[in-house]
């Protein structure tokens, strides 16, 4: 057993369950199976990170076994997630035998994960020019998809005259979580995000990307989700119009610029394709370093001053989404963010050595405008139809269309079969208002969606209802009522505030597009204090361990509040900066 245990027995529970048949398997291993040659005898060179080695669906009990206390299950509907995006898992649940650890390296600060948060942490920790920083990323480049950063205060906000009361923003963030939060993480953001934004500009100035932070007023959130403006944006003369226009395009360039700057610093060792797999904590309770892996095999890193977890969430780990999230949040949804690195490595590694995880179910960042295969591409030309009334499986309107993303997603998932068959309605009125080339793009692309059942079109509402599978008179009444609200200026049903922007569903042709939730990220993680120390379940800091960005917790509960401007990236930068500062001092 012992030699094969790491591959055969991925979890403790799995080990116990399988014990009864272990003897049979052992016999099979040396006997019949070997003789028939079933299976490839020569093992392939093992991937550095893999879906089937560390944590996988077949060992999903790891997601409950990892906790250091007895857990209970709430009976919820068990459904598979619609998320198809799967990243490669770095975390290794099994003990890694000493014999497999090829070498030991020494550093002061080990940064695990080098996306936006890890880049900031590594820069901050190495700012003094002397602290040795080893920054390890499992993928071939650090990922980053973002456009703006939520901050309170700082030079750019002050210069623009956009003065926001930190206490108010702290309260808005806490209110968005229904106050299911500790004090420190939100307070850290409200107090120091402005300072972090200024520091970030200094790092841009040090880099070669000519990147500038600037204040840009966001579209005010309608409905009763109005909040102060808190978003700083990014620009660079080196970025093409496409980079600037593309969702999240600038973020990628920022992470690239930071990697370039890190590589120029003599006290930083930045490596890609090098997953961190397991934390090490000594008998005194201090985290002393971690076990990582590269092409030569496992190696130990001793971090004299501290380890910073910056490995994001678990949005690219479908089995973990199924284990830790609400069924309705993850079933009829797709994934939107090509980062692929968020597989829960940092959360699992932390919990394994006693770190406090945010209470489950985990909070997710969800947008609508999704269809079963993804997010409606801009190139499909269909987005002009996605602003129409939100209609459920019965042909009934179910929410105000001016709600923020998370509210629209939640309302959708509260319909029949957790949002399996919700739609957006459109008509020739909306299409005819488009430029000729936009009309052509829509007409060219719609048939493919119709063929797959994601869209239907018809010349009458009754025919459209038939294709949608709902009652014709119900749909006709819904549309008449919606059009009436536009005339009267008042949404009697859902209190939509921006009816002035709405157009009627009328004309000689009608459309319905399937509309469902998309997951961009998970935003629950390891609870930290005001200095980004990871806390244990007694709220005591775990010496030598820090967490930041999507890997950290105590910041969101329920859902990501999309109506607040930029808190996720605000947390990445601020906590990366603060954790690096403190880890470098070893305090």
């Amino acid at each position: 057993m012992s030699e094969d245990q790491s591959r055969l027995e991925p979890t403790r529970r799995g080990f116990l369950k399988a014990a009864g048949v272990a003897a049979l398997s052992a016999a099979a291993a040396t006997g019949a199976f070997g003789l028939t040659g079933c299976g490839k005898a020569e093992a392939k060179e093992e991937a550095l990170v893999a879906n089937n080695a560390g944590v996988g669906k077949f060992s999903e009990s790891v997601y409950t076994d990892v906790f250091p206390f007895e857990t209970r299950g709430i009976p919820v509907l068990k459904k598979e997630t619609g998320v198809l995006r799967r990243g490669n898992v770095a975390y290794v649940a099994n003990d890694i035998p000493e014999s497999e650890i090829k070498r030991t390296e020494e550093t002061d600060v080990l940064v695990c994960g080098v996306g936006l948060t890890g880049s900031c942490a590594a820069l901050s920790a190495s700012d003094d020019g002397t602290t040795r920083v080893l920054a390890l990323e499992k993928m071939d480049v650090g990922r980053g998809m973002f456009e703006g950063m939520g901050v309170v205060g700082g030079t750019k906000m002050t210069e623009a005259g956009n003065i926001v009361d930190p206490a108010e923003m702290m309260d808005r963030m806490r209110a968005a979580a229904d106050y299911r939060l500790p004090i420190d993480p939100i307070k850290l953001w409200a107090d120091r995000s402005g300072e972090a934004a200024d520091w970030m500009q200094e790092k841009f100035d040090e880099g070669d990307g000519q990147i500038e932070t600037y204040y840009k007023t966001g579209n005010p959130t309608a409905h009763h989700f109005d909040v102060p403006q808190t978003e700083i944006s990014f620009r660079s003369p080196q970025w093409s119009e496409k980079t600037t226009k593309n969702a999240g395009g600038g973020g990628m360039m920022i992470v690239k610029d930071f990697a370039n700057t890190l590589n120029k610093r003599s006290n930083v060792d930045l490596r890609f394709n090098t997953p961190v797999c397991k934390l090490e904590r000594n008998a005194d309770g201090r985290v002393t370093g971690a076990i990582a892996k590269d092409a030569d095999g496992y190696f130990r890193v001793n971090a004299a001053k501290g380890v910073i977890l910056a490995m994001g969430g678990f949005e690219s780990n479908p089995a973990m989404l199924e284990a830790w999230c609400r069924t309705e949040d993850i079933e009829h949804c797709s994934s939107w963010a090509p980062n692929s690195g968020g597989t829960g490595d940092g959360e699992l590694m932390g919990i394994e050595i006693g770190a406090q995880m945010d209470p489950l179910p985990a909070a997710i960042m969800n947008f609508d405008f999704g269809y079963p295969e993804g997010f409606y591409p801009a190139s499909s030309g269909l987005r002009p139809l996605l602003g129409g009334p939100m209609i459920n499986q019965d042909g009934v309107r179910y929410a105000a269309e001016d709600l923020p993303f998370q509210a629209r997603s939640n309302a959708t998932n509260a319909q029949w079969h957790r949002g399996e068959k919700c739609w957006r309605l459109g008509s020739s009125t909306q299409v005819n208002a488009l430029a000729p080339e936009a009309q052509q793009l829509l007409k060219d692309n719609l048939p493919a969606y119709v063929e797959k059942g994601y869209a239907v079109e018809a010349d009458t509402l009754a025919e459209l209802a038939d294709k949608m599978g709902c009652d014709a008179s119900t749909l006709e009444a819904t549309v008449a009522r919606f059009n009436g609200f536009i005339d009267s200026g008042h949404d009697d049903d859902f209190y939509r505030q921006n009816l002035a922007k709405a157009t009627k569903i009328e004309g000689d042709h009608f459309y319905a597009l399937r509309n469902q939730s998309c997951i961009l990220a998970t935003v629950s993680g390891l609870v930290v204090d005001y200095y980004c120390h990871v806390l244990d379940y007694d709220n005591k800091p775990i010496e030598g361990l820090y967490a930041a960005g999507g890997n950290s917790g105590g910041f969101f509960a329920g859902e990501y509040p999309r109506h607040v401007f930029g808190p996720s990236v605000g947390r990445c930068v601020t906590f990366g900066y603060v954790s690096g500062q403190h880890a470098a001092k070893g305090e």
Binding site: K17, L35, A47, N52, E60, V141, A247
Partner: protein, 178 residues
Amino acid sequence: MAEEQQAPKATEPTKKRKKAPIVIGVIVAVIVVAGIGFWNWHEQPSFCGTVCHTMSDHVTNYEEGPGVAHLHQAANVSCLDCHQATLDVQLAEVRSQLAGDTDNLGLADRYYVDNSVCLDCHGGSYEELAKSTEDLGAYNPHANPHGEMNCNECHKGHAEQQDTCSQCHENGGQRMLA
């Protein structure tokens, strides 16, 4: 197993030794023939679909369906060529079967196709693969600024192809085929 049977026979009286090699030879021959037969069967898609578990539509859309699996069928590539089943993985699966843990077979993980499997035939390395699609120019999806992506992010084996690039930006008019 053959060796275990051989061991006790070797200690029997010398008189019977003459027959022993023949008996053993026959047994071994039968096992080898059966083994070859089993091996050949085991290599067929029908084996995966009938012996241990239902494969839902994975086998049927290997023959015809939305994923790239049916293209591999046309090229005479069978299930286990891509879903590389190492002995330990297969044993772990058998153990789950025997333990009655059939809800948790985790076929998607155990037989997950990593990039290395695709690259074995397609280019040899990600960099070489990228060269083979260089004519796609600025929108070469295999040399994109995001970094290496999992092949099956877009090229789904048993599902609709995903046009990942264009979910966020223009991609030079490329569309996923197959």
